[in-house]
């Protein structure tokens, strides 16, 4: 499903020095596999997810999604792969304030070609328990509810891979479990692979596969 090979990413710092962040010799995630990614703050977890999603380009290496090396594609095709194969959930501010819950879920469909399936959007919102909140704007939803809308939106285009960057960091422990359960069960039903970043041990412990970025990232290992 996901294959990383010889992946390197560095940033040019304001002073002009090169700051290496990622150096991943190899990493694989299977079809519908659910993995959690741990690592101390600043070790490059978000950067890694950005590179996988094609939001950032690596300095070198291979990022293969569903058999396609996206580093070889031009930006428009990468965008297309992201729209169709990758779902993304952020820590906060996932939703667009001007749009209702339903519209936020439909938004991703707008950017993938040829799919505009309102029934699926309603169905997903039903599965995250928000059938009664379709017309609500994000400002009138609780943070937990907002994250559930974000889960529904990330899955709207039937992606093959869900990237979640600390999706429960701003949710209280009770709702944290609810959101995690939701992500895991929905992805299992739709056989979507999960790569989820978290700082919470109680979340990480639920996953069969737990990865520490420091362990497979040679930059972090050196640091």
């Amino acid at each position: 499903m996901l294959v990383l090979k010889g992946l390197k990413k560095s940033f040019i710092e304001p002073g002009g020095e090169r700051l290496p962040v990622l150096d991943v010799p190899e990493f694989r995630l299977g079809e519908a596999e659910q993995a959690v990614l741990l690592g101390r703050s600043g070790c490059g977890k978000t950067t890694l997810l950005h590179v996988i999603a094609g939001i950032s380009t690596p300095d070198s290496g291979v990022v293969e999604i569903d058999g396609v090396d996206i580093t070889k594609l031009d930006e428009a095709r990468r965008d297309r792969i992201r729209a169709e194969k990758v779902g993304y959930i952020f820590q906060t501010f996932n939703l667009l304030a001007g749009f209702s819950a339903l519209e936020n879920v439909m938004l991703g469909m707008t950017f993938a070609q040829g799919k505009r399936d309102e029934r699926r959007a309603r169905d997903l919102l039903g599965r995250v328990g928000l059938s009664h909140r379709l017309r609500h704007k994000p400002g009138t939803l609780s943070v937990g509810e907002q994250q559930r809308v974000a889960v529904a939106r990330a899955l709207a285009n039937r992606p093959r891979l869900l990237l979640a960057d600390e999706p429960t960091a701003s949710v209280d422990p009770k709702h944290q479990q609810q959101v995690i359960d939701l992500i895991r069960s929905t992805c299992r039903e739709e056989s979507v692979a999960i790569f989820l970043v978290t700082h919470a041990p109680e979340v990480a412990s639920q996953f069969d596969r737990v990865e520490h970025l420091e362990q497979f990232n040679r930059v972090a290992a050196l640091a």
Binding site: T46, T47, H50, A53, I55, S56, E75, A76, D79, R80, R82, A83, E84, V86, Y88, F90, T92, F93, N94, L95, L96, A97, G98, F99, E103, M106, L107, G108, M109, T110, F111, A112, R116, R153, N157
Partner: protein, 438 residues
């Protein structure tokens, strides 16, 4: 969800700013539409009035435009006269074959500032004053040729002067009412014309025969010092205002009569080309094409002014466009994160750029449509006032090609002003914007 809806949502989100920029666009476009409609109406009414259905105006040699302004528009200072006998050349003499209708005009009097035209009843009879138009009487009837002291009033003049059928009025000498002019004898209003949308709406028309019998209207002829004995006998009694304009009156001898102008309708287009040369070769008078004169005036003065006005209003629209630019551009910093989220959902650079451009287009077209309605509404609401002030009727002005140009014009303007914020959306650094706190 379409890109339109996404763009519309973000317009809604900046509700107040959007409403204000849309409003300023609406006002700008309303002004453009108003200027365009007025331009059209003015051009149209100039054209329609220009001839009043007459091909030529014959009058004393001198200013051509002045002759037309005097006879058709009831404007400008009076012109010289021509001998009455000259009329015969058109009715029975050398020009008869080229002429289908010839109407004599005697000008120079006014009543309370409204010009008085002394003419013949035939002016309002048969045919039409312009294609598709006839003179009709809203009240009463046309004046009669043998009732020397009858007259009719144009619609606007009647309304302004509060004249009704049966009223009488005394024209005074001069085209302006300066209070000094000698008051003439009274004419009875026997009819009120229907509005024609031409300058004739603001004139009064009297029987030429009565006009000649008024004081100082006989041409001094050597050896005939007491030129109009009958008239004097009957009408110098200024204490008696209720004359019977009976038929005992003797018309003024032709030798003592003068005309200001003859309105001529030629019998054929060829005659229309031929006749002016003939007349102009002679010593007596000149023949002027009112349409050509007015066209000239229009092209030289009215048109440039209108272009200037149009230019100014288009500038106002451009300024409104810049308002849209500022409004959208200001919102870009707050929207960086939203744009990054859309990109993370798979939106292309060109897609988020298109959304911002669409916003600009929707604002200008929406404002423009509101402005169009506003401009048209304004014109419709003001049209009675304009008719009352000028006698030019606006009626329903049909959709003009220039108005249709507004649509592509506004789209181009929107694209230009939307370009800067759209490029800013295009260049959004997704990874960095996602990292920054909302």
């Amino acid at each position: 969800m379409s890109l339109f809806k996404i763009a519309w949502r973000s317009i809604q989100q900046r509700g107040l700013a959007s409403a204000l920029t849309g409003l300023s666009m609406a006002l700008g476009v309303a002004l453009v539409v108003a200027v365009l409609v007025i331009h059209n109406v003015v051009a149209d009414s100039f054209q329609r009035s220009a001839g009043l259905g007459y091909d030529l105006i014959v009058g004393a040699k001198g200013g051509k435009l002045q002759l037309v302004l005097n006879t058709v528009y009831h404007l400008s200072s009076p012109v010289e006269n021509i001998p009455y006998t000259y009329l015969k050349d058109f009715t029975e003499g050398q020009y008869k074959e080229y002429v289908s209708k010839a109407i004599p005009y005697c000008l120079g009097d006014n009543y309370e500032g409204y010009r008085v035209v002394a003419t013949v009843p035939n002016l309002f009879e048969d045919e039409k004053n312009a294609p598709g138009q006839r003179y009709g009487f809203a009240q009463g009837r046309n004046f009669k040729g043998d009732a020397y002291f009858e007259g009719v009033a144009g619609a606007l003049a009647a309304r302004r002067l509060r004249l009704k059928v049966g009223d009488s009025f005394r024209p005074s000498h001069g085209v302006l009412d300066d209070g000094q002019g000698h008051k003439h004898d009274a004419f009875t209003i026997v009819g009120i014309l229907e509005p024609t949308g031409t300058p004739n709406d603001r004139a009064l028309f009297i029987n030429m025969e009565g006009f000649y019998l008024l004081d100082n209207h006989a041409k001094p002829v050597p050896g005939a010092t007491e030129a109009k004995p009958t008239a004097v006998a009957k009408h110098d009694d200024h204490d008696d205002h209720d004359h019977d304009h009976d038929h005992e009156l003797k018309p003024l001898p032709e030798g003592q009569r003068e005309l200001t102008a003859i309105l001529v309708r030629t019998s054929s287009p060829t005659a229309g080309m031929f006749l002016p040369n003939k007349i102009n070769e002679g010593q007596v008078a000149q023949a002027v094409s009112p349409i050509r004169e007015i066209r000239g005036l229009f092209d030289a003065i009215v048109e440039p002014i209108q272009w200037l006005l149009l230019g100014l209003t288009v500038l106002i629209v451009a300024v409104s466009g810049i308002g849209i630019l500022v409004s959208i551009y200001n919102s870009m910093s707050e929207r960086r994160r939203e744009i990054a989220v859309m990109r993370a959902l798979g939106a292309r650079r060109t897609t988020v750029m298109a959304i911002v451009l669409l916003e600009s287009v929707l604002l200008s077209l929406g404002g423009g449509a509101a402005g169009w309605l506003l401009g048209r509404g304004l014109i419709a609401a003001l049209s009675p006032v304009i008719v009352a002030q000028t006698g030019v009727s606006i009626g329903f002005a049909p959709l003009m090609p220039a108005e249709l140009l507004l649509i592509p014009g506004l789209v181009i303007l929107a694209a230009l002003v939307g370009y800067l914020p759209a490029m800013s959306a295009y260049r959004t650094d997704v990874a960095r914007s996602l990292a920054s706190a909302p």
